[in-house]
């Protein structure tokens, strides 16, 4: 029996789904600033926690984060992993460093890349700063930041980063 004659009980048929994504008011405010090269977190009026990227509400207090809090593009590595597997359809080449970035003045972290440093020298608590794409490439996306790179400042004790209501 040839291969064509072998009965098949299984076949793969991938499907492609496209979604329309509505950012919502809080994310829209944030992304409009990101397009201009600014990182503006949002603060909780009750506990004063600062969220970046903001989701529009404080999960601690259940209230809208209606205070705009301009931040700088410096911070530290709260933790990280070195990824050794490729992401299908993504040009990024392993190994690459995916880090929890905690910006100065922010009370949560977000994931971004670390580059311009030997992987073995990356540490929890290391100080880092955003490396931006050229201004003409800026869009409504945190992809305006190519990656974060280490800066020559003393490491941070990450235990001191935990938010406590004052």
């Amino acid at each position: 029996m040839s291969a064509e004659d072998t009965p098949k009980d299984y076949s793969e048929s991938p499907i492609n789904l496209e979604y329309f994504y509505t950012a919502g008011s809080a994310t829209t405010r944030f992304l409009n600033q990101v397009k201009e090269g600014n990182i503006v977190g949002q603060g909780c009026p009750k506990c004063k926690a600062v969220y970046v990227p903001p989701r529009g509400s404080c999960p601690r207090c259940g209230v809208a984060t209606d205070i705009e809090v301009p931040l700088i593009d410096k911070g530290c590595i709260e933790s990280f992993t070195v990824v050794h597997i490729p992401i299908p359809g993504n040009p990024i080449v392993p190994p690459y460093v995916c880090a929890m970035i905690r910006l100065d003045g922010a009370n949560i972290s977000f994931l971004h890349l670390i580059q311009d440093v030997d992987i073995e020298n990356i540490r929890i608590g290391m100080r880092i700063q955003a490396v931006w794409k050229p201004k003409e490439e800026w869009t409504h996306s945190l992809e305006n930041i190519k990656w974060f790179a280490p800066i020559d400042e003393p490491d941070v004790d990450v235990a001191t980063l935990r938010f406590q209501e004052s």
């Binding site: 009980d9 299984y10 499907i15 994504y21 950012a23 994310t27 992304l31 909780c44 506990c47 926690a49 600062v50 969220y51 990227p53 989701r55 404080c58 999960p59 601690r60 709260e78 933790s79 990280f80 992993t81 070195v82 990824v83 050794h84 597997i85 992401i87 299908p88 993504n90 990024i92 690459y96 995916c98 880090a99 929890m100 009370n107 949560i108 977000f110 994931l111 971004h112 890349l113 929890i124 409504h140 996306s141 945190l142 992809e143 930041i145 990450v158 935990r162 938010f163 406590q164 209501e165």
Partner: protein, 382 residues
């Protein structure tokens, strides 16, 4: 409150690809085994409660509707539960709650995942708009939390290898387990490629097809059946992106464990619980949960693992069935923990039975480690 107990646990054979059955065939295999174990006829079932992880894993939206025949739910109340990876545990808790409340006398509950129908790793890591696409599966998400645990408590790297080897050695005693790796040991684990530092290939769970079902009934329906009495159960969640959250030691996990210990009258969980099936999809979550669940002080979890306390003949056996590291149909993985805990106190765990197990714990977590579900089962009602 009405006392409830598990009178039947049914599981499928777990495998990477169960091409011999459809989704409906898979859930029915677990249900038939549970109904047989419970020795019940279909008319004794008052309601069916189904759980699974995100529908995009198979691309079938609200499958509980199309599965109505297969799960014996035609003309009966059906409820769907959905709490990411913890769903198997929370489904069991929701099912038991409907018995304890008096709403139903006997409930059939089933959970499943047929991961071979798509690709769970990348279903979990789609490209989100307006942000860089660097998230690479659940392991990539949890690895930074694990790295912080290791840094915080100066844990040596062999602890992860040890958990991975121990759970796979247990799996060799469980014919239903997906992974059977002859001769598995720490060296074999440490020789496998790095995926998401510090996690190596064999420190990570597989992707499995499988289902798990249970029949839960009220005390007055039990008769002379073998039963695992539910002594305490709870679910908790916390805000994933909440300021002040400790991802290494989530408050929701601490609170959930305290709740079930209080319900069950347990003061010293390490001494009073005979064995536990704890959701460990990546090796390091064993020491992390040992601490989170109050079995030891912070920073002492890896030392318990290192001293073989969690081995099948140790002071507090963990994951006698092989755990999530050996079989991982995500939607069912939590219920397998709850069901295996029940089998232990019923004395039905066969080759992976812990001698004289009277009190056992089942645990599940999910999402970004913000969903928790747990229960305590006992061989006696007292």
């Amino acid at each position: 409150m009405i006392q409830a107990g598990v009178i039947g646990v049914g599981q499928t054979k777990y495998d990477a690809k169960r091409r011999d059955v459809s989704m409906a065939g898979l859930v029915r295999e677990a249900i038939d085994n549970a109904m047989l174990a419970a020795n019940l006829e279909w008319d004794a079932i008052d309601a069916v409660i189904l759980g699974k992880a995100p529908d995009m894993f198979e691309g079938v939206i609200m499958p509980e509707l199309y599965l109505a025949d297969a799960i014996g739910a035609v003309g009966k109340p059906v409820l769907r539960v959905h709490t990411a990876g913890s769903v198997g545990g929370s489904t069991a808790v929701i099912a038991a709650s409907h018995v304890c409340s008096g709403q139903f006398k006997t409930v059939l509950t089933v959970t499943f995942e047929k991961q071979s129908e798509s690709n769970a790793t990348w279903a979990l890591s789609p490209r989100y708009p307006y942000s860089p696409h660097i998230n690479a599966g659940a392991g990539g998400y949890f690895a930074p939390f694990i790295r912080e645990y290791i840094r915080r408590y100066e844990a040596p790297e062999h602890i992860g290898w040890k958990v991975a080897a121990k759970d796979r050695q247990n799996a060799l005693k469980n014919p239903l387990a997906h992974l059977h790796i002859p001769g598995i040991d720490e060296k074999m684990v440490s020789d496998t490629p790095m995926l998401w530092e510090p996690l190596r290939y064999l420190e990570s769970c597989p992707s499995s097809d499988g289902a798990c079902a249970m029949v839960i009934t009220a005390q007055d329906q039990v008769g002379s059946r073998n039963v695992a009495w539910i002594k305490g159960m709870a679910v908790r969640s916390e805000g994933t992106l909440s300021a002040g959250r400790d991802e290494v030691n989530p408050q929701a996990g601490i609170d959930c464990a305290k709740d079930i210990y209080n319900q069950a009258g347990i003061h010293n969980p390490y001494n009073e619980i005979d064995c536990a099936e704890i959701y460990v999809p990546f090796s390091w979550y064993e020491p992390m949960w040992l601490e989170n669940l109050g079995f030891c002080d912070l920073g002492e979890g890896w030392k318990l693992t290192d001293k073989d306390a969690t081995a099948i003949d140790g002071g507090l056996p963990f994951n006698m069935s092989g755990g999530v590291l050996s079989s991982n149909p995500i939607g069912a993985s939590g219920m397998i923990r709850f069901g295996e805990a029940a089998l232990q106190v019923m004395g039905l765990a066969e080759d992976h039975q812990v001698d004289d197990a009277k009190v056992a714990m089942g645990h599940a977590y999910g999402g970004a480690a913000q969903f928790f579900a747990m229960w305590i089962v006992s061989s006696s009602l007292d």
